[in-house]
Amino acid sequence: MDAKMLQARLLELIRRTSCELPPDVIREIEKGWRREKSDTNAKYAFGVIRDNIGLAAVKSQPLCQDTGTIICDVARPDWVSERAFRAAFEKAVDEATRVGYLRQNSVDSVTGRNSGNNLGPGSPVIHFHETTARSLTARLMLKGGGCENVGAQYSLPDTSLGAGRDLEGVRICVLDAVHKAQGKGCGPGVLGVCIGGDRATGYVASKETLLRSLDDANEDPVLAKLERRLLDEANTLGIGPMGFGGATTLLGVKITARNRVPASFFVSVSYMCWAYRRDGFQLSAAGKIAKWLYD
């Protein structure tokens, strides 16, 4: 596959991610909509959300004008180098910004200047893994600012919360984060949680776990149980979509764990808004999209 073709495929990945929500997310939004009582603001908010999902897909325009931090996770076979992938992806990002799939969203933190094409130090974010498979797998997430701002990291023990260094302590932190977020992260949201790691790897893993399909079950039965419990408990808080009140505060909870040093115990929580823009594909060496990962 030549560089031009790779760039074209990546542009399509960006377009699809920005304009269309994947089916697993839509299914959970539909469930939430059915769950809310009629004639409530929660039901109404879901109605607007559903209409917006439909309109964005039909018009092929961004679901939300904040097209977020661009995070790409790549399983790279040996027919493409990191350098070549990055070059193609950056060109695709530049083009996606010009045609309006992405907003001009990358600002120099010192001068305040907008780069105008979403490129600059740290943007876009690409995580590479090597794979022995023949096809390339790329997953893309557009993580909005409003929801990123309500993410939180806890260091256990946390005496003010009464959270100790165990799964009960983790549960306390996560529910506290949901309560503090209220509707500000454009809920109903999805949580990515990492238990352990250091401060940096904990947050990275909390985002990585948001790449899982919403309807899968955690392979670890202990974490699977905690995910279900936290989802149920969070939905009794009554915060609801947009914080208007209602039965659907979260659409999902995904938890992962990393080893830690004995002295540290971090719990990192990433909040993803309902505009849960992430998609991915498998790309053959010849440049054919063999599979969309969340369809």
């Binding site: 603001n41 908010a45 209409d51 309109l55 004008q65 409003g146 500000k184």
Partner: protein, 189 residues
């Protein structure tokens, strides 16, 4: 219920937290740069008396010589908390559309001048763009750039929920305290 221009004090005082409104009339976008500029004593390029400000950085493009709104969802309002109350009082603003709600200073100003905070559905950039029927003009484009400029939008049936009213009530405060109670039960050992 319909909330139609002119946005009079009487109409705004009649609204209560939880009311679902559909706004028809002219609204002005304004976000960080505009609020800071006005708060620092800058002269407003539009008449703000009885106006509704929309916290929004829209995506607007020129097509065939006219402005077309491509995306127009709300942005987080709380960033304007230091400015909003004083501006409401100084200019007699009647409403603010945004997302995430605002704090006690703005709530007090709503009470004093007879204004409301109108919460739009965050992320609904396409649905809300469809509610903009006309772009009547743009101000301070040179100074602030497109997303931060003051766009004059005619909107029709723009949906929002009153989450802060002129009677001192805030849905954000009540949902926060009700959910805090549930939380404390969930956390009881």
């Amino acid at each position: 219920m319909l909330l139609e221009a002119p946005f009079t004090e009487e109409k705004m005082r009649a609204l209560k937290v939880g009311d679902l409104v559909e706004i028809t009339g002219v609204v002005y976008t304004g976000r960080d740069a505009v609020h800071k500029y006005l708060h620092d004593g800058g002269k407003p390029p539009v008449v703000l008396r009885d106006a509704i400000i929309y916290h929004c950085g829209p995506v607007v493009v020129k097509e065939g010589g006219r402005w077309v709104v491509k995306a127009a969802g709300p942005t987080t309002s709380i960033r304007e908390e230091p400015f909003q109350g004083p501006l409401m009082e100084q200019y007699g603003l009647r409403g603010v559309i945004g997302k995430g709600g605002m704090g006690p200073k703005t709530l007090a100003a709503c009470q004093k001048v007879g204004a409301c905070y109108l919460h739009a559905v965050g992320g609904a950039a396409q649905v809300l763009a469809e509610c903009v029927t006309d772009v009547l003009g743009v101000h301070m484009m040179e100074e602030f750039g497109s997303p931060e400029a003051i766009w004059e939008f005619r909107v029709a049936r723009f949906p929002a929920v009153v989450t802060m009213d002129s009677h001192g009530k805030s849905l954000h405060a009540s949902v926060a305290s009700a959910s805090a109670e549930v939380l404390s039960r969930l956390l009881k050992p």
